[in-house]
């Protein structure tokens, strides 16, 4: 009898192990524990046996029954944990589906990055109109009467005003700086603000020159302010753009609206300052002009230069974006060409 049970147990465990999926396992379960199972057959045949045998065989049979139940549960768990939701094979190397999304212009993106940085330093964002008068574009900024930038070879004058002067001579703004006086006239001092925007110059275009380009200018006006604090603005810009600290140097530069004025160079990121083709072998790249606001400009803004001083930084975003991404032709920015714009999602 016990021999028979041993055989039932062995065969039963084998069939549990061999069940491949839930359906097969269900059949096995019926075979092993149902009314017609081998185990039931054995128990049925017990009638003729003595009590002792009945007892020991009965106990053994129950034991086997429990074992089957346990093993079936184990096998069930095993099958479920290996079960896939897929009912057919999958090629995992196929590409994922596209995410539909547009993009801001790479220059807008850079502009917003800088806005965020300056906002954290308490700067406001200001914008002046695209068309300005000679008074704000040049006179207020201490440009000499016969400064070459005032000529139509450089500046886009509006037809019908080109022979007039000052307030009445209008142009597409050739730089942002004129906006600084507008802001100061409106809001007074102390002030700290950035004023990004497009500017326009009558230039012949090539890979490095455009008729319209994007500048980003920042100005602080305050009392008891030293030019060395201005350097912090410069580092803010460059750290934000390049994501790490960039070495900069300030050197002498000249602009009508600053005194003193600076050219700000950054260490060439291509060669790390050792000198390469990109930096013309001197290790430094000119990135932006800046300087202390000229007393005459403060006067234009109705501020007393004895009391107030300030610091400008002006950065050409086109050039910076070109450096950020390695773009080699400035004309892409105004091309509207999606093959270009889609790269900056």
């Amino acid at each position: 009898m016990l021999e028979k049970l041993k055989q039932v147990q062995e065969e039963g465990l084998k069939s549990i192990k061999e069940a491949k999926d839930e359906q097969e396992l269900e059949i096995v379960r019926k075979d092993l524990t149902g009314k017609k199972s081998a185990l039931a057959e054995v128990l049925k045949g017990l009638g003729k046996e003595d009590v002792e045998t009945k007892k020991s065989v009965g106990m053994k049979a129950n034991e086997i029954k429990n074992l089957f139940a346990e093993k079936i549960k184990e096998r069930e768990d095993e099958i479920i944990s290996n079960k896939s939701v897929l009912d057919e094979p999958i090629d995992l190397t196929q590409p994922g589906l596209d995410v539909e999304g547009g993009a801001l212009h790479p220059i807008t993106q850079m502009c917003y990055d800088l806005n965020d940085a300056f906002l954290s330093l308490g700067f406001e964002v200001y914008s002046e109109d695209d068309i300005s008068s000679e008074k704000f574009a040049f006179d207020n900024l201490n440009f000499a009467k016969d400064h070459p930038a005032r000529q139509s070879m450089d500046t886009y004058w509006i037809e019908g005003t080109e022979e007039k002067q000052g307030n009445e001579r209008l142009c597409l703004r050739p730089h942002l700086t004129g906006g600084s006086v507008r802001y100061l006239l409106k809001h007074g001092a102390p002030a700290r603000f950035v004023y990004p925007g497009k500017v326009f110059r009558n230039e012949t275009t090539d890979a490095r020159h455009e008729k319209a380009f994007f500048q980003y200018e920042a100005l602080i006006v305050d009392k008891d302010f030293s030019f060395s604090s201005g350097m912090v603005m410069i580092e803010t810009i460059l750290e934000r753009v390049f994501g790490r600290k960039v070495n900069v140097r300030m050197r002498e530069g000249f602009f009508p609206f600053t005194e003193p004025g600076y050219e700000i160079d950054m260490e060439c990121l291509v060669c790390g300052g050792k000198g390469c083709r990109v930096c013309n072998h001197n290790g430094w790249i000119e990135v932006m002009p800046g300087g202390v606001i000229h007393p005459n400009v403060l006067r234009s803004a109705n501020l007393d230069p004895e009391e107030w001083t300030g610091f400008y930084v002006n950065i050409g975003l086109d050039r910076l974006v070109m450096m950020r991404y390695g773009v080699d032709d400035v004309r892409y920015f105004h091309s509207g060409d999606l093959r270009f714009l889609k790269q900056f999602k």
Partner: protein, 807 residues
């Protein structure tokens, strides 16, 4: 401008320990930008002095000779040469193997190798001037001529650059960085700056003054305001002659070509002390009198380059008693030029004011060295340096010459700027307290006079900086800061202020609009120019009554400034269609309207500026893209936190399809439009086989919310029941009517689709809508649901004449 360090060293001794690279760096940081440091010897490597010991005939070539040449090595070498002026004992220029020469003076440099010429070995090459960059110093008279170093103190084997004194370091300075420094347009000024940077001693210049008892040369100044000072020095006993080697070499090293001793002297003086001069042949000055006057109407001047120019009354000219002979400070006339037979000249060293020069010089594309300097506003005092150096050089080069007459008409003198600078001002603005000693040293090195009294520096600027460059205390502060180098000042963090956090709703709204379109709606932002192309103005059907135009537009068809962003948008769409079929674009920019607006004072009148947002969706299915665009605008207000926008048909935009346009409203104000692009506009803009939905909005009329306005609603406690309903209505029934008929009866109402087809009778259409219904206080029973749906259908039937569509 090129600056020779050899030349600088005539005025200041620079210690060996300061390398040229260091000088370039320090000058760049403190004074002017050095763009390049040029080692003039570099291109002369392996090019040496040789002496021809013996000349033999070449066995295989009539025109070639075999030369045995001493090049300073153990044994003389054999070189084959075809030069026409070879002789034994001649000192020549030899390019050894490894040297790089310009073959016959044309093309890129070629490396010399030891070779055989017609069977005879040749160790290098005996060179002509054009082959080894010496043509300026030894202008060849014929092509086959080689350089003959006769008369030059040199020995075989010596590097040719060393032998001729060419070896030098030249700093190439960016002229733009020199615009405000008239004093740096000569080597002496640059030497003074370098001396100041390193605190070195500047050697004084030799002073030579014309004899006081000399007769006066006749000069008349009619325009003293334009010509504050004029000196004329008449010299005789001159002749056609070359300048000495040292002078020629210096001129060549800084980029000039020596011409003749007389002309070279004026150039040398200009490059040394920054004073442009001019030499007139004395016999060409009619009446032996110089008159500085405005040109007369109708007068003409023939220039050296044979160009005749018409003069205006604005032009200042140098004239003799008969006619103009030169354009003051700019260019000489043909008549006054120095010729080989010239034996006497009148040297002019003068002062012409910058505006005078700039006005007249505008007519020329290229500026002369003289005009470049006068334009920067030279002072009147350093004229003396020019006279002194001219006299010194004339005496040195033409020992037999004689100064026979001299005049100095000095009407207006440049006054040195006097400025007071307080210690407190410097401490604050420099952000660092400097010792009095330091400040005085820096300023004195730059030529200032300084007196310190009661914590105030009373400074007198040097005369050569007093023509505008230095006039206020900020200039003095700038000089101190730059000379100590900006790098030496510690960077001070910005003081933080806590008055108020910056919050600018209009600025934020613009950003939210752009980010909404780009990131939520899949639009790409474009930039276009502020002017429009006539072709696309026409395509967009714009009729601009009083256009604002550019006086000098980039091209004739690009003269009109934009009143709408649509024309440029059409242009960009048509260009992108070459590569893409479905895309969405937008631009935010200002447009202009010819109305008056005063941003500052009444006197300043600008055209009206409006900030527009224009977007487009390009794709084949016109209805689909139209409603896609409509969805973008419907959701715009809530996503960007501004007051809501609605639609109403008011006026058709010129570019719109006659059947598919809507105006966009804020309250009762029209803020823009949405439409399909008309077939006509697409045809004229070259937009083919597709459709465009286009919207344009005036964002100035948007009203941002001061903060977010989302409102919390309690979640429904009892489940809502969702039911779809297809109804049949007449073709002209609008969704708006369906919606307003039943929206109050349901919790939610949604448009699903519109359908026309076989099963739908002609002149009618089917609309499928989805409703959600429910009770506020219990779950709906099926009976309640049926009743509600019947009621809805009944209302639709009554108000919209709708029938249930049988499946």
């Amino acid at each position: 401008m090129k600056v020779s360090l050899n030349w600088i060293k005539k005025y200041v001794d620079i210690p060996e320990s300061i390398t040229p690279k260091q000088i370039a760096y320090d000058v760049t940081v403190r004074t002017v930008e050095v763009e390049d440091v040029i080692d003039t010897k570099e291109k002369y490597h392996d090019i040496v002095v040789g002496q021809i010991k013996e000349i033999k005939a070449h066995p295989n070539a009539d025109l070639l000779k075999i030369c045995i040449v001493d090049i300073g090595e153990e044994k003389p070498v054999q070189i084959v040469c075809g030069g026409s002026n070879l002789y034994e004992g001649e000192l020549v220029v030899v390019s050894k193997p490894g040297a790089e020469v310009i073959w016959h003076g044309e093309g890129e440099p070629v490396k010399i190798k030891e070779t055989k010429m017609r069977g005879e070995s040749s160790y290098g090459m005996i060179c002509g001037a054009v082959e080894v960059f010496l043509d300026k110093l030894f202008p060849p008279k014929e092509e086959t001529e080689i350089v003959d170093l006769k008369g030059i103190n040199c020995k075989p084997g010596e590097n040719i650059a060393d032998a001729l004194g060419i070896t030098d370091i030249v700093l190439d300075i960016d002229n733009k960085s020199l615009t405000n420094r008239p004093d740096l347009w000569g080597h002496f000024g640059m030497a003074r700056e370098i001396a100041a940077i390193y605190d070195l001693k500047l050697k004084p210049l030799k002073e030579v003054k014309p004899d006081k008892n000399l007769p006066k040369y006749q000069v008349e100044i009619k325009e003293p305001e334009k010509c504050p000072r004029y000196t004329a020095t008449e010299v005789t006993g001159l002749c056609e002659k070359e300048s000495p080697l040292w002078m020629k070499v210096l001129l060549i090293n800084v980029g000039l070509r020596p011409i003749s001793a007389i002309v070279d002297i004026t150039n040398y003086v200009m490059l040394a002390v920054g004073r442009p001069g001019h030499a007139f042949d004395r016999t060409h000055v009619e009446g032996e009198k110089i008159i500085v006057r405005n040109a007369k109407k109708g007068e003409k001047l023939l220039l050296l380059d044979d160009n005749e120019i018409d003069l205006t009354e604005d032009d200042l000219v140098i004239a003799d008693t008969k006619e103009p002979i030169g354009l003051a400070g700019i260019r000489g006339g043909k008549k006054d030029s120095i010729l080989p037979e010239t034996t006497g000249v009148v040297f002019e060293i003068a002062n012409f004011t910058a505006p005078t020069i700039r006005r007249t010089d505008k007519r020329f594309d290229e500026k002369t060295d003289s005009a470049i300097r006068y334009e920067k506003n030279l002072d009147t005092e350093t004229v003396d340096l020019g006279i002194s150096l001219t006299l010194e050089l004339v005496k040195e080069i033409f020992p037999e010459s004689k100064v026979v007459a001299y005049t100095d008409i000095y009407s207006i003198k440049t006054e040195r700027a006097k400025i007071e600078v307080s210690q407190k001002f410097l401490d604050t603005r420099l952000g660092k307290v400097l010792e009095q000693k330091t400040i005085e040293k820096v300023l004195k090195n730059l030529g200032y006079d300084v007196e310190y009294k009661d914590r105030v520096y009373h400074v007198t600027a040097p005369v050569w900086r007093s023509t505008g460059d230095v006039s206020i205390k900020d200039d003095v502060m700038g000089d101190i800061a730059r000379l100590l180098s900006y790098e030496s000042f510690e960077k001070k963090p910005l003081p933080v202020k806590f008055d108020h956090a910056v919050k600018q709703n209009d600025v934020l709204l613009e950003r939210r609009l752009k980010e909404y379109l780009a990131y939520r709606c899949g639009f790409n932002e474009i930039f276009t120019y502020p002017w429009m192309d006539d072709k696309y103005i026409k395509a967009a059907g714009l009729n601009i009554e009083r256009p604002i135009k550019l006086a000098t537009p980039p091209a004739p068809e690009l003269s009109t400034l934009r009143t709408s962003l649509v024309p440029s948008m059409l242009e960009v769409i048509s260009k992108n269609l070459r590569y893409y079929s479905d895309f969405k674009l937008f631009e935010v920019a200002q447009v202009f309207e010819n109305k008056e607006y005063h941003p500052s004072t009444k006197e300043e009148t600008l055209p009206l500026h409006k900030k527009y947002l224009t977007g487009s969706i390009t794709g084949k299915d016109a209805k689909k893209i139209f409603f896609e665009a409509k969805g973008v605008i419907e959701r715009m207000a809530s996503y960007t936190h501004m007051e809501s926008l609605t639609f109403k048909q008011v006026e058709k935009p010129s570019w719109a399809d006659p059947n598919a346009y809507l105006n966009i409203m804020h309250g009762s104000t029209v803020v823009g439009s949405l439409s399909l692009l008309s077939a006509k506009a697409m045809l004229e803009a070259g937009i083919k086989r597709t459709n465009v939905a286009i919207f344009e909005l005036n964002t100035d009329l948007f009203v941002p919310y001061p903060s977010r306005t989302n409102e919390f609603k309690h979640l429904p406690q009892f489940p809502l029941v969702e039911k779809d309903l297809s109804i049949i209505v007449e073709e002209n029934t609008k969704w708006e009517e369906v919606e307003s008929a039943i929206y109050k009866m349901v919790k939610e109402l949604e448009f699903i689709e519109e359908y026309r087809g076989n099963q739908i009778p002609q002149g009618e259409k089917s609309i499928t809508l989805r409703v959600k219904i429910g009770n506020d206080d219990s779950t709906m029973t099926s009976e309640q649901i049926d009743n509600k749906m019947n009621a809805i259908m009944k209302t639709l039937n009554k108000k919209c004449n709708a029938e249930l569509r049988e499946e």
